[in-house]
Structures are given as structure tokens and as C-alpha cells.
Symmetry: C2
């Protein structure tokens, strides 16, 4: 019956832990990036730029107001990569802990599973979980970095040290879906290079699926029948969004001479796939977003709003939330009195969480878009793209970020912060609240957001 | 236990009645408006223009591809007004019948109330209801027409016959929220005329509240405690949207020299109020929409998407749907296990209907916007406005309607049709489905959409 773990019980509400942790990391990051040694020019970047960049890194967004490579020193770049690593790990840890508290069904370890039966989670369990996550992250990043570094060394004639640096920096950014790059035009120069594109896309997909899902897939990938509802929905929606996204970008941009139109057919496919992966929510781009058609921007908006998997490094309302929304609507249209996903009934409480997270996300996006439209001379196309990119911590941009002014940058900073911790803490807070009141519910509970 | 009335039972599904009825009316209208005598020039308007105009009139939208006054003859204008009248009455009748079938609690007459206990509704009941609706509509329209005609006669020096014609035409358009006008710039010339503006706004609000709500208000307006959930939610959300809308337009457009900026302070208030009333979904305008800021367009989009009351002449997802969404989210954020509205519990089935109607509306708007963006050179600001205006049958436009081409006009026609009958039939079909399966549910059922 006791829902909160002993170590979390010290705080009034778990959401406070998350908010405090992220604020602290952003504060440290702002201080470090304000130092003169953080910039290439040796002068302080100013607090708005430092705050925006620190928030963008900790919230693993990747929006920038200055060119990362030329504006920051190596020290500054390492700080940014460190913040993204801390942010990505923090999100995965907290979300996974919440998920264990809520569902107690992920079976990460026998020990934790046993604990979950009595609905408590000791500090030792959390420590082991964090260790596991750190090892998992590092292994993924080292592999990604090695492949990228090899390619930079062999394919692009970089020195050994530089290739390692580039490989490491972008591996951290890809796995944590943070989206910073050391080139002013993101990854446009690599549009036709499958080594770079597929490596980064794979890292982004794995990081964005979420630790519990990856762990379950690693264990039971041959036996989809053993998958939990979380894993089924995540995998299904992810595959659908990637396939549909790739096709839509292919069709929409096929004849655009400034994007796909200039490429060979096989490169078109690679670029469209990469463009479909990145809104969930790694945030690199190999096509010039500012030259894409407004219809492609709208599709990207939708993908960025949905984002990636729960308890991973991705942002947005999450593919699980979107998937459950689809199941609810499907059941309703068929006149079913209950919503079933793979022989499990979706509890009414989860249905309300799905609506709450979706509609609050829409309202936040609409309100911020209104404010930014009123504040700047840009149109809805670009402003909505920027706002959804910040809310979904995707980090893609049509190129207006730098021109939004200090007030616009502070708004985007707030939006990245809320977008990052909002659905996560909202979802877990709602789920924990609910569970504390309805411990008798027998259904499988899926965390949303 | 038998949910469908004898006369409706002839059809496989009540939704078919609605779709067939509207299609039939649009077909007749298209034929009549294709006649050479329908145009001022004496040549056929062509089928796309005739279809678009007929659909716009029957679906009480008010979007136009040709200037109503100069393009159509008096015969054509009378056909358009007749179609709007038929469309408005048809919507009110069908929605009210569905509502009686679903809830049986509106107490229109003792007879109907008694029938509703046994969940059947005879052809005679429906006939009496239609008669009541026709009388109600005519009384409202005659009063509106009289006030408008008097003003045109006295204030603008129109001849007696012309004043009556103008008064009658615009009374029909206002009460049925159809939005056609006989001036090329809608009602911009009357921006500072409270007689015209407040009369039309009142007719639009009354028509858009919905017959059951107006009827209950007329009977129990002194005793809000006797109001049903439907009436409470409708009145509350309507008042909030009108007040907030007026304030937002005042703030946003205050300094725009091409809209509010050119007016006196009291006229600013009148114009902002009128601009806040019209998106729900009468569709007249006294400000030049094409000159409003994009931030105002976005606010108008939201208001048009929400629309007016259920079982009235307004479109959109309806203020009831929006209000229930707000109640669901509020209950969820407070950690309540049930959603209560004024001592009534909102059934889980209704909650799912609310999500289904809202999300399907959003998906339809997103999809149509994508198609229209890809098809035309316009940006998201204007395309989204046009699409939401058609879906919400609001009829406002930033001025791009005529330039969208035949394919765009057919798309908007389909959108007006789905937007008009979609939420209505979807909501009632879902509610009837549900009720047929769950006749044991004790809660008050509120129709959505
Ligand atoms: K990102
Ligand atoms: K209208």
C-alpha cells in the first residue's frame, strides 16, 4: 500500500526531485559556460546564451543560439557534452525508477522484482539500477564513437585525436538524443554517407527506445509474445512512425531541388529515413531544414510532438502515449466498452493520463506559439516548428533560433525545461497518485509521458 | 432496452440518415446554383463553384469562392439563404433528436419525457419537435431581421424593400451561423455600429448555444441549480471563451493600425467582442482578417476548432466537448479518481467520446493542412486558418479561399461536410452504440460533438 520508496519519501513529491535535479544541473552548466575559458574568443558568452546552451544540453534538446564549434572552446564543448550525458542519464534513471514504482513488472532483476511486489524500492536497488544504466549508456556510446571515429579517420582524413574527439562528442549527442554537432550545418555534409547516418540513427533509436524496452528486447527479442504492453506499443508505434515518416518525406520532398531533389535515388531513401528518425528526438539533420517545404515542417512538427519511447533519452509526449491514444480511439469507434492492448485491459486511470498529457502538451505548445508569434516577426510555420522542437526536446530548427532575441530565448529555455521534465514528472506523479489510491487495481499499468 | 426509435430503426445506423440528408440537400443546392438564372451574369457558375457554395451554405459555413452579392442573382441568393436555413434546421433537429435518444432528460415536453423513460421516440414526437424548432428559429430570425431592417432603413438610407431583404438574408445567416453576407468585405463597414454588431452577435450566440440549452435557459434562467450538466457546461465555457477571446483580441490587435488601432476605444471593445463571438461559428467579420496578426489567427483557429454548443447551428468539436476535456484534466491533475461536474459523475464512456472527437478532429485538421500546404504556395498561418474554418464550419478566411484552385475547393467541401456531420454523427453514433450496450448505467449522459 505504500507507494513511495523510502529514499523518495524524503521529498514531498517525486516530481520535486526531478525538477530540482535538472535545475541544479542547468545552474552548474550556466556557470561553467559563462566562464571566459568556455568560449573560443576568451570572453564570457553572457548569461542568456550560457543559460540557453546549458538548458539545451541538460534537456538534451540541441537548439543553439551560437555555432557550437566556433563559439565555444574545447573546454566549453566538453562541458556541453558532459551536460548532455548527465541530462540523458538523469532522465533514463528517474524515468526507469518511476516506472518500477508504478508497475513493478519490468523484472530487471529478481531482487527488484521481489521488492516491487511490496511496492518499495531501496536506495541499494536504485544504486544498482543507475550503475546498470551507466554501463549500458557507456557501452552504446563507445561502440558508436568507435564506428564514427573510424569513419572520420579513414573516410575524411581527420587526425587520430580529432577523429576520436569528433566520434566521442557525436556519440554522446546521438545516444542521448542531444543533437549538438561540431559543424555549423549539422550533418548536411554527410547526407550521402550511410556509415555516419546509419550509425547515428541507430544510436538515436536505441537511446530513444528507453532502457526498459531495450532491456526487454535484448532478453526476449525472439519471443514477442513475452513482451510487456510497454514494449509492444513502443516497438509498434516506433516502426510505424519510421516507415510512414520516411515515405512521407520521400513523397513530399522528392522534387525539392534544395533537399531530396539534388540526390541520387538511394541517397534520397537514406536522407528521408534519417529525416524521419531525427524528430524522435535526436535533432540532427542531413537536409537543409530551412529549405524544406512547409508541409514537411508540419509532418516534422507532429513527429517531434510525439517524440520517442518512455524512460529513454527522447522527448515529446512519447510513442506510448500516442499508441494508447490510438488504441482508445480505435476501441471507441468499434463501440468496445473496454480498451484492450494485447490481452491486457487499459485502466481508466491510464486513459485519463493519456488525455491529460496530450492535451496539456497541445495547450502548452499553442500558448507558447501565440506568445512567440506576437513577439517576433516570424510566421506560424517557423514559430510552431521552433516551439514544438523545444517542447519535444528535438532540437531541429528552421534557422530562426538565434534571431528570437533574449525574451524568445528565455521562453524556449522554459519550454525545453517543461518539455523535458513535464510529461515525465506529470506522468509519474499522476500514476503514483493514482496508485496510492487504487492499489487494488489488477490491470497492467503503463506509464505515460 | 431498445435504443433506436421506430422511425430511425429503418436505417442501419442513425449516422446514415444525417449523411444522406445533408448529401441530398447539397445535391439539390448544387443543381439549383448551376442554373444560369442563379448568377447575376446569366451564365452557369460551373459545378465546382456551385458545389462549393451549396456545401458551404448547407453546412452553414460561409466560405466563398465568389463574391456573393455580385456573382449570384437574387434567385441564387435566395437559394443560398434557403440552403442555410435547411442546413441549420436539419442540424438542430437531428442533434436534438439524438440527444433525446441518448439522455432522455431534457424534458422538452411531458410527453417526450415519458417516452424517453422507455427509450423510444415516436414519429409524432419527432414531428412535434421539428415544429417547435421551426417556430423557435422563425421567431428568432424575424426579430433579428426586424432590428437589422430597421437599422438599414433608418441608419443607412436603404429602401424599404432592400432593407427588408438585407435584414432577412443576414438574420437567416446569423441565426444559422452561416456567415454569408451581401457585402464583399463581410461586415467591416459596420465595425462601429453596435445595432448591427450586437444584433448579429446575439442571434449567432442564441443559435449557437443549441436548442435544448436555450429552451432550458428560457425556462429556468433564474435557477441555475436546476440546470442540467449540458446547460451548465455550455453556458460556463461559452462565457469564458467570449470574455477571454475579447481580452486576447483587444491586447493582441490594440496597436495594429489596420485593425483595432484605427478605432476609438469603445469601438475597439465592440470589434474585439464581435471578433471573439464570430469564430463560434457564425463567421462574419468586422475587422479585416487578412490584416490581423498571425498570433490573432492562431487564437481564432483555437476558437473555431472549439466552436459552439451541441445541438445548435454552430460547428467545431463543441464547447461541451472542450469543457468536459477541461474537467477530465482538472480531475486528473488533482488526483481524483472520478470526474465530477456539478454533483454528476462523468461516465467513462463519455470521457472516451470526448477524446475520440477531439483527437479525430485534430488528426483531420492536421492531415488536411498537410495536403493543402503541399498543394498550394501558402504558408501554415493561412492554410491552417482555412482548414480549421472549414472543419469548424466557421467560414472566416484570411482571403485565400478563391485562390486554392478546384482541387483545394473540393478538399474544403469534403472538410465542411465531415466537419458538419462528423462530430454530430460520430458523437451520437458512439453514444447510441454505448447506450445500447450499457443501458444499466445510472449517470447523466452528455452528448459530445
Ligand atoms: K534533441
Ligand atoms: K459559419
Amino acid at each position: 500500500m505504500v507507494a513511495t520508496a523510502p529514499f523518495l519519501a524524503r521529498f514531498r513529491h517525486p516530481a520535486q526531485v526531478v525538477a530540482a535535479g535538472f535545475s541544479f544541473a542547468i545552474g552548474i552548466g550556466t556557470a561553467l559556460l559563462s566562464l571566459p575559458i568556455a568560449t573560443a574568443g576568451g570572453e564570457s558568452a553572457g548569461w542568456v546564451t550560457a543559460l540557453f546552451t546549458a538548458a539545451s544540453a541538460v534537456c538534451v534538446t540541441g537548439l543553439v543560439v551560437v555555432d557550437t564549434d566556433t563559439h565555444w572552446s574545447v573546454f566549453g564543448e566538453v562541458v556541453i557534452a558532459g551536460l548532455a550525458q548527465v541530462g540523458g542519464l538523469g532522465i533514463m534513471t528517474m524515468a526507469t525508477v518511476f516506472m518500477l514504482l508504478v508497475s513493478g513488472r519490468l523484472g530487471l532483476r529478481a531482487r527488484i522484482a521481489t521488492q516491487a511486489e511490496t511496492k518499495t524500492l531501496s536506495m541499494g536497488d536504485v544504486r544498482r539500477l543507475v550503475l546498470k544504466l551507466v554501463v549500458f549508456s557507456l557501452v552504446c556510446e563507445v561502440i558508436t564513437a568507435a564506428v564514427l571515429a573510424g569513419r572520420f579517420l579513414i573516410g575524411y582524413g581527420e587526425s587520430f585525436g580529432r577523429a576520436l574527439y569528433l566520434g566521442g562528442f557525436h556519440a554522446v549527442m546521438a545516444f542521448n538524443s542531444a543533437g549538438f554537432t561540431l559543424w555549423p550545418d549539422s550533418l548536411i555534409r554527410f547526407v550521402a554517407d550511410p556509415w555516419i547516418c546509419l550509425t547515428i540513427a541507430t544510436a538515436a533509436i536505441v537511446g530513444g527506445l528507453g532502457f526498459p524496452v531495450v532491456f526487454e528486447l535484448a532478453r526476449h527479442w525472439r519471443h514477442p509474445r513475452k513482451w510487456s504492453v510497454l514494449t509492444r506499443v513502443t516497438v509498434m508505434v516506433t516502426v510505424i512512425l519510421l516507415v510512414v515518416g520516411t515515405l512521407v518525406f520521400l513523397v513530399t520532398e522528392w522534387q525539392n531541388p534544395k533537399t531530396l531533389g539534388a540526390l541520387d535515388d538511394s541517397d534520397k531513401l537514406l536522407a528521408a529515413f534519417f529525416t524521419a528518425v531525427m524528430p524522435r528526438s535526436a535533432g540532427f539533420n542531413t537536409l537543409d531544414i530551412s529549405q524544406m517545404y512547409p508541409s514537411s515542417w508540419l509532418v516534422t512538427d507532429l513527429l517531434m510532438f510525439i517524440g520517442g519511447g518512455s524512460a529513454g533519452t527522447a522527448g515529446g509526449i512519447k510513442v506510448t502515449t500516442f499508441g494508447m491514444l490510438a488504441f482508445i480511439i480505435w476501441a471507441e469507434l468499434r463501440g468496445e466498452s473496454r480498451v484492450n492492448i494485447g490481452h491486457r485491459r487499459l485502466p481508466e486511470a491510464t486513459q485519463r493520463q493519456v488525455i491529460t498529457i496530450t492535451v496539456m502538451g497541445l495547450m502548452l505548445v499553442a500558448f507558447s506559439t501565440y506568445v512567440l508569434l506576437a513577439m517576433t516577426p516570424h510566421g506560424l510555420d517557423q514559430v510552431l516548428f521552433e516551439v514544438v522542437s523545444a517542447f519535444g526536446t528535438a532540437g531541429l530548427s528552421t534557422g530562426i533560433t538565434a534571431s528570437l532575441g533574449p525574451a524568445g530565448h528565455v521562453l524556449l529555455t522554459v519550454l525545453m525545461f517543461i518539455g523535458r521534465i513535464g510529461p515525465l514528472t506529470l506522468g509519474s506523479a499522476l500514476a503514483l497518485n493514482r496508485r496510492a489510491r487504487h492499489y487494488e487495481l489488477p490491470e497492467e499499468r503503463v506509464i505515460v509521458g
